[in-house]
């Protein structure tokens, strides 16, 4: 990890006193821990938000009751601790493993999925220099990692020795794989516009206010690319209109029907972390990343992180919003949208942007 | 007209092509075409005869074209006194034979094609002056003969002594025998090729004229033993063709099995190839080897043996054709004897004998053919008193027989007499005793001819042949011209003699002039 090593040594000089290698290992473990924790928290927040927004959309209140005795937190109200309670419930719930199931794989699947999601975070810039590893091929890395999830799903589906879970896994895998292509193509537009894969550079290119955001470059192509990427990422998350795998009505809970307890929690957690991941990616690529919408104003100090998270949550809101409004899409329609709609749009965007750039 | 020799050689080949286009069933058109082409060839031959300048011994009508320059082989054709009579004989006999084979019914096209090819081969041999070309024509001539005897000859049969005899057997025997001979000739040819330097270019050469010039002989040809060896090899090659005594057994078989026309050509022309070869190649090119004591006397003695042996064997034959075959051997013996004397008389006599024997035997075979067509067998004792039934045929046969036994007034006498005289009077070798012994041959010849004539024609008419048809027009057409030729050349041989005498005298002088061999020991 020489690249990683170089960055870390730059920033964490204070650990210089330790021997070089120990230093890097320590730093890696620390980073990983931070991300894991952040992801977990974000996931819980995501779940909570989901429940609240979906409830309000459906003119209902959502979880209100669950509260804690801790004085300060107690009076936030609105059942903020509901997801926490759920998490605790899942942790202590009995972990059932189906008979004949492939125990090891069964266990491993959720971890793969979660790992894949976490890996995505390491590249995202939450501030000027505030990035786990400033990979030169950052964006490309994200695309690669996103495909990693599929394996976890397949293994989950397969190892639970259940026809439906297998079918669900196969279907979700196919879905993710087939939506990967339009997503990647859309990103191509960004890469072409900026000319670098490094997320830091991309954000730098969009510095200077809302009008500089990438989304507005080469209208309408970039907008088209943004739209394609957003829909594709929705599919990759197996959310909302494209949530066939977990479609209750048909194949129960898809690949994680046989999961319960902690492993199920892992899946759930991964899903929401992934949502957040997509939100941040869209933010950095199209919505100017950690740059403030108002140009240099409010651009220093903790504000870059704030802006990124804000933009991310806006995207999440839209996702949740879509989940509870659009009807579920049939499988062939799903495939149709991917191959016959999104991919051509992506090509159009790419070609258009390319030509525009040349002019 | 220039390159007449190429014309005369390849006219039959054109004939073959013409024949090939004729549909198989109308046999007569094939025959007519063959006749036309051989006729044309005869016309050419006569033209050559008239335009041939017999006063010089130089090569005439010669054509020389580069054929295979890399090996310095050229297409060199030319004739002199020695080859003119042969060319005339071939053309004449081929023309006659076409009519003689009018009766052939089996795959007529094949037959005439083969015949014309044979004709071309023969003509080529007599006209070519390049050893390589000579050898090629020599071999070309072999092939059609094999087929003619093999296919159109008599069917193969197993004799009572268990031996399988018949057309194919004879054909194979003939082919292998001659081929065996021609291998030695090939060896000799190659030795010449490599050791004779072309005076002009200095490279190797096949050109016979250069080969004849002793000055060009280099390399291994200087050594006398080698010259003897080559001479022996060549002699073997030609001896088989003549045929000379020990190598003659193919002739009777070939004749008996071959159809009439083929055996006419075989006896009429092919036998002359051997002696022609000797006179064209062995004598001029290796004169000293020829004059070596043992070879010269050997040749004479072989001639004598041929005469006596042939005559005696003929006497014991029951098959008419075999008898005539052995008579050919006997007559060819006379040629050998005449040649060995190395006198102008003997040489001219020998070549005349070649020509006269050609016509004489041709007539004999045609007559045998006539009787065979009618009686379908050739056993002499089977006939009897035919003269009563077929007087003209008997007359013709008697003319042929008397020509055969060398009755004065007929052509063979002149050539036989002068061959004997030449041999007897030879200064270089004392052949007197050999010649005198050989003259006994003409008694035996008279014996078996008359005895055969008596058994076939005289005496009571064999009732079986009471209705035998007389000789018909076509057969007469083939026989009369030869008969006339035999009589005319017998009474007045000058036209033939003038043709050949200058060249042959010169040949004799050349050979005599060559210094006697200086080999130690055997000398």
């Amino acid at each position: 990890m020489p690249v990683l090593n170089a960055n870390l040594t730059l920033q964490a000089a204070q650990f210089a006193n330790l021997p070089e290698t120990l230093q890097t290992i320590l730093f890696m473990v620390l980073g990983a821990a931070i991300f894991a924790g952040a992801a977990a928290v974000l996931a819980l927040v995501g779940v909570y938000l989901e429940r609240k927004i979906s409830a309000h959309m459906q003119d209902r209140v959502g979880p209100m009751e669950v509260n804690t005795e801790i004085p300060v937190l107690k009076n936030i109200g609105h059942g903020w601790a509901q997801t926490l309670a759920d998490a605790l419930k899942l942790l202590i719930k009995e972990d059932i493993v189906p008979a004949e199931a492939d125990k090891k794989l069964h266990l491993m699947a959720p971890f793969i999925v979660f790992a894949a999601t976490l890996a995505g975070f390491s590249v995202l810039p939450f501030g000027p220099g505030l990035v786990a590893s400033d990979l030169n091929v950052g964006l490309f890395y994200i695309i690669a990692i996103s495909s990693f999830v599929v394996i976890g799903i397949i293994l989950a589906g397969w190892s639970s020795n259940n026809k439906w879970s297998l079918l669900g896994a196969m279907r979700s895998a196919a879905q993710i794989v087939s939506f990967e292509i339009p997503a990647s193509l859309a990103l191509l537009v960004v890469i072409m516009a900026v000319g670098s894969l490094n997320l830091g550079d991309i954000v730098a290119a969009q510095a200077g206010g809302i009008h500089k955001w990438l989304i507005w470059w080469y209208p309408p192509f970039n907008i088209l690319a943004f739209f394609v990427f957003f829909v594709a990422s929705l599919a990759e998350l197996n959310r909302a209109p494209f949530d066939m795998p977990e479609a209750e009505s048909e194949i129960v809970a898809g690949f994680h029907t046989e999961y319960s307890g902690m492993k199920w929690a892992m899946f759930f957690l991964a899903e929401y972390a992934n949502m957040f991941l997509v939100g941040v990616i869209i933010a950095t690529l199209f919505l100017g990343g950690w740059t403030s919408p108002f140009g240099d104003f409010l651009n220093s100090g903790p504000f870059p992180v704030f802006w990124v998270t804000l933009k991310a949550f806006i995207v999440i809101f839209v996702q949740i919003w879509l989940r509870w409004t659009l009807p579920r899409v049939r499988v062939d329609q799903l495939m149709y949208t991917s191959w016959k709609v999104l991919t051509p749009f992506a090509f159009v965007a790419m070609v258009g942007a390319g030509i525009w750039m040349m002019l | 007209m220039d390159n007449v020799l190429s014309w005369i050689t390849f006219l039959p080949v054109v004939g073959i092509l013409a024949i090939l286009f004729v549909p198989k069933d109308n046999k007569n058109t094939v025959r007519i075409i063959a006749a036309v082409f051989t006729g044309l060839q005869l016309v050419l031959a006569v033209w050559i005869y008239r335009n041939f300048d017999s006063s010089t011994s130089a090569i005439q009508f010669s054509e020389q074209y580069k054929w295979i320059p890399s090996f310095n082989i050229d297409y060199f054709m030319g004739i002199d006194g020695l080859s003119v009579p042969m060319v005339l004989l071939t053309a004449f006999l081929s023309f006659i034979c076409i009519f003689a084979s009018w009766g052939i019914e089996k795959s007529v096209k094949g037959y005439f094609a083969m015949f014309l090819l044979l004709d071309a081969g023969m003509m080529g041999v007599f006209c070519s002056l390049d050893f390589f070309l000579f050898y090629i024509f020599w071999e070309v001539m072999l092939l059609p003969m094999y087929f003619l005897i093999g296919i159109w000859g008599s069917p193969s049969r197993t004799e009572e002594d268990g031996m399988v005899r018949g057309g194919p057997y004879a054909a194979i025997k003939f082919f292998l025998y001659t081929l065996f001979g021609s291998i030695f000739m090939l060896i000799a040819m190659l030795v010449f090729y490599f050791n004779v330097s072309d005076p002009v270019t200095g490279g190797h050469t096949f050109n016979m004229l250069h080969l004849m010039d002793q000055a060009n002989h280099g390399g291994v040809l200087k050594d006398f033993d080698v010259r003897l060896l080559i001479y022996a090899a060549l002699f073997l090659g030609f001896a088989i063709k003549v045929p000379v005594f020990p190598f003659h057994t193919w002739l009777p078989d070939a004749h008996v099995e071959a159809p009439t026309a083929v055996s006419v050509i075989l006896a009429g022309v092919l036998l002359k190839m051997g002696t022609y070869g000797m006179l064209r190649i062995s004598f001029p090119m290796l004169p000293d080897a020829m004059k070596w004591k043992y070879f010269a006397y050997g040749l004479a003695i072989l001639g004598m043996i041929n005469i006596l042996y042939g005559a005696l064997c003929a006497m014991a034959q029951k098959d008419l054709k075999k008898l005539v075959a052995y008579s050919s051997i006997s007559h060819m013996g006379i040629v050998l004897l005449g040649m060995s004397g190395l006198t102008s008389l003997g040489m001219n006599g020998a070549v005349m004998q070649m020509f006269n024997h050609g016509t004489g035997t041709a007539m004999l075979f045609l007559l045998v053919g006539v009787i065979y067509d009618r009686a379908h067998h050739r056993q002499i004792d089977g006939f009897g008193g035919l003269a009563v039934r077929m007087p003209i045929f008997a007359a013709m046969m008697s003319l042929a027989f008397f020509a055969g036994l060398g009755l004065p007034g007929l052509s063979s006498f002149i050539s036989e007499a002068f061959s004997f005289l030449g041999a007897f009077g030879s200064e270089t070798f004392d052949l007197r005793l050999i010649t005198v012994v050989s003259t006994i041959g003409i008694i035996i010849t008279a014996g078996y001819f008359l005895w055969t004539f008596q058994r076939m024609f005289l005496g009571e008419l064999n009732p079986k042949y009471a209705e035998l048809p007389e000789i018909n027009g076509r057969e007469l057409f083939t026989l009369v011209p030869i008969g006339i030729l035999v009589i005319v050349l017998g009474v007045y041989p000058a036209p033939l003699l003038d043709l050949i005498k200058t060249s042959l005298n010169e040949l004799v002088e050349v050979v005599k002039a060559a210094e006697a061999p200086t080999m130690l020991g055997l000398h």
């Binding site: - | 034959q317 102008s344 004997f420 003409i442």
Partner: protein, 660 residues
């Protein structure tokens, strides 16, 4: 002169050619054509003879002309005609007899199916005989020599249906051929030494001593061989008796007068060539022939056989004449003999014609029936026996004289004269025996006797003419003058051999008178003996015959010559030829076929070897491959992975190998 000669020569030839090709279609089948031609030739010959006699110069060459026949560059072969006294006489004799025979044949051959061809052959014969007489070089003489042989063959074998006739013809030709070979050998010797065929050229060469004595004798003897063959002398006489198979006029013409005389003529023509030894040889042969033939004639039953043997005997006489130096005597006898022998034959012909049989037993007492034939026959017999006034006496006496003279000169050679004298006596005896048996005594066969009648005029006329000539042909004197013995001197011979020229010195004279007396005595005694045995039948032939059985048988079987020859030469040659043919077929062809079979065998063996060894090997390889294949097949499990394994294994092996 020359044109006459050419005409004489060509007339018969023309007659022959016309006759043979159109004979049948001519009126009376063309007999008049040939006979006419011959009489014209006779007339011309007569004119030449008169011309020769009128010039009256010994050995005078009346005319000579040569034409170039063909040439061998250096050697020129010419063909020419020479007419000297001898030729003139011969021409006259040949044409006369030939014409008379033609005339006679018209009657004799009447009704024969191949009548025209007979006259053609006669024409051919005459042409050849005349050619032989006229020609001036050796080659020419040899050519006509053979042609004469041919025509005699054709005429003897004229009635070829009869096997005996064709056999006789063949025998004649071959025997002649044997003689000819000898002659040709002589010609070769002469030509090789002198380079020319002409008589004059050769004689000049001999005169110049070009040929060593030994070779000269050899040449002479060999030349004489030709004569032996042709004139039926001792060893080669066997063909003449058989030649009687031919028609009688033929016998008369050929086997009495002309052809057989050719030998004598040839010896005469080339007389200078013969050395002393050669002449002696001729004399010896002549004597033997004369005596032998005469003795055989005694016992013969067939009229023509008797005459044949008498001819042989008389020829012997001529040869003795020439041999002993009596050149003129020999040739004179030739001419006289020709006349009366022809008459005898024609006479016997008319007898046969009448009686239709040649056996004397069937005849007898024909005197009354055939007076002309009888009387002419008697005259001829007297002439033949040597009764004085007739021509026969003079020539025979001259020969006996020269024989005696020869005997006197050469001590120890007297036996020739004695035998010849004896033969003369025997001749007289058997001739009169013949006359008595045919014309006197009782007719043995009544029917034949009645049927017999005198021959027609065409046959009797020649008899009469010949009778006249038999009586007094020529007076001895001028004949001797015209045809005297040539000597080498004429050709510039240096050392003229002191040859006794039958001239007029004392020895010759005494010999002459003694010979005359003795010959008359012997002749008369012979006649007497014959009459006693056959006319008065005092001594019965049969008793003497039986008493001298062995001698009789010997004579009857002609000294077993035929059997001797048959056993030795003929069967010898036949056996040799059969052996050689068999040898050729078996041995040489055997060798060739053997080689063929050998190679076939070899190829067979190599075929087998090939089959077993080589093929075996191949099969072995095949089997190995199959076996390996089978084993390896298991490798082809169809399992791709095992293939890969093997491949890798190979890689390793290669690598390992590459290391070392």
């Amino acid at each position: 002169m020359i044109t006459n000669a050419i005409l004489i020569l060509l007339l018969p030839l023309a007659a022959f050619v016309v006759q043979i090709s159109f004979g049948k279609r001519l009126p009376r089948k063309g007999d008049w054509l040939s006979t006419g031609a011959m009489f014209i030739a006779l007339f011309m010959a007569l004119s030449i003879l008169v011309d020769a006699i009128s010039t009256y110069e010994s050995n005078k060459v009346l005319a000579a002309q040569t034409w170039e026949w063909f040439s061998f560059g250096s050697v020129h072969v010419t063909f020419g005609i020479v007419i000297d006294n001898l030729t003139a006489f011969m021409l006259f004799v040949v044409t006369l007899i030939s014409a008379l025979v033609h005339l006679y044949s018209i009657g004799y051959m009447h009704g024969d199916p191949r009548y025209s061809r007979y006259f053609a052959y006669l024409g051919l014969f005459s042409f050849s005989m005349l050619g032989l007489v006229l020609v001036d070089n050796f080659l020419g003489i040899y050519v006509f020599w053979e042609l004469v042989g041919l025509s005699s063959y054709l005429l003897i074998g004229f009635w070829f249906e009869k096997d005996s006739a064709s056999n006789a013809g063949k025998k004649a030709f071959i025997t002649n051929r044997i003689g000819d070979v000898g002659m040709f050998a002589a010609i070769m010797i002469l030509f090789s030494t002198f380079g020319t065929f002409d008589f004059d050229g050769v004689f000049a060469g001999v005169a110049a001593g070009g040929l060593s004595d030994g070779w000269l004798t050899a040449a002479g003897i060999l030349l004489f061989f030709g004569a032996i063959g042709k004139s039926a002398q001792f060893p080669l006489h066997v063909w003449l008796p058989d030649a009687m198979e031919g028609p009688t006029p033929v016998s008369a013409l050929i086997h009495a007068a002309t052809m057989v005389a050719a030998g004598v003529y040839m010896v005469g023509r080339t007389f200078v060539l013969y050395s002393a030894d050669a002449l002696f040889f001729i004399a010896v042969i002549g004597t033997i022939t004369a005596f032998m033939a005469a003795t055989i004639a005694i016992v013969q039953k067939d009229i023509k056989r008797v005459l044949a043997y008498s001819t042989i005997s008389q020829l012997g006489y001529m040869m003795v004449g020439l041999g002993t130096g009596g050149y003129t005597a020999g040739l004179m006898h030739l001419t006289t003999h020709a006349m009366f022998k022809a008459l005898l034959f024609l006479g016997s012909g008319s007898v046969i014609h009448a009686v239709h049989s040649q056996e004397m037993d069937d005849m007898g007492g024909l005197r009354k029936k055939m007076p002309i034939t009888f009387w002419t026959f008697l005259i001829a017999t007297l002439a033949l026996s040597g009764v004085p006034p007739l021509s026969g006496f003079f020539s025979k006496d001259a020969i006996l004289a020269s024989a005696l003279e020869y005997g006197m000169r050469h001590s120890g050679q007297m036996w020739i004269f004695v035998i010849m004298l004896l033969s003369a006596g025997i001749t007289a005896f058997y001739m009169f025996r013949l006359v008595y048996m045919t014309f006197f005594g009782e007719p043995a066969d009544k029917k034949k006797y009645d049927h017999a009648h005198e021959s027609p005029l065409t046959m009797t006329l020649p008899l009469m003419i010949l009778a006249v000539f038999s009586i007094g042909t020529f007076s001895w004197g001028w004949f001797e003058h015209l045809i005297s013995k040539p000597s080498l001197a004429a050709y510039g011979a240096v050392a003229a051999v002191a040859e006794h020229g039958g001239g007029h010195d004392d020895v010759a004279h005494t010999a002459h008178t003694i010979a005359m007396i003795s010959s008359i005595v012997v002749a008369l005694s012979g006649i007497l003996l014959a009459t006693t045995v056959y006319y008065w039948k005092k001594i019965s032939a049969e008793t003497w015959g039986s008493r001298l059985k062995p001698l009789y048988n010997l004579l009857w079987n002609k000294y077993y010559f035929d059997e001797l020859y048959a056993a030795t030469i003929i069967s010898g040659t036949l056996w040799k030829s059969r052996f050689l043919a068999m040898f050729d077929l078996r041995v040489i062809d055997g060798v060739v076929n053997g080689v063929g079979r050998l190679t076939a065998g070899l190829s067979n063996v190599s075929g087998k070897v090939d089959l077993r060894v080589v093929d075996g090997l191949v099969n072995l390889v095949g089997r190995i491959v199959a076996y390996a294949g089978a084993r390896l097949r298991t490798l082809q499990t169809g399992n791709v992975q095992s293939y890969l394994l093997m491949a890798l294994f190979a890689v390793i092996i290669l690598f390992v190998i590459q290391q070392f």
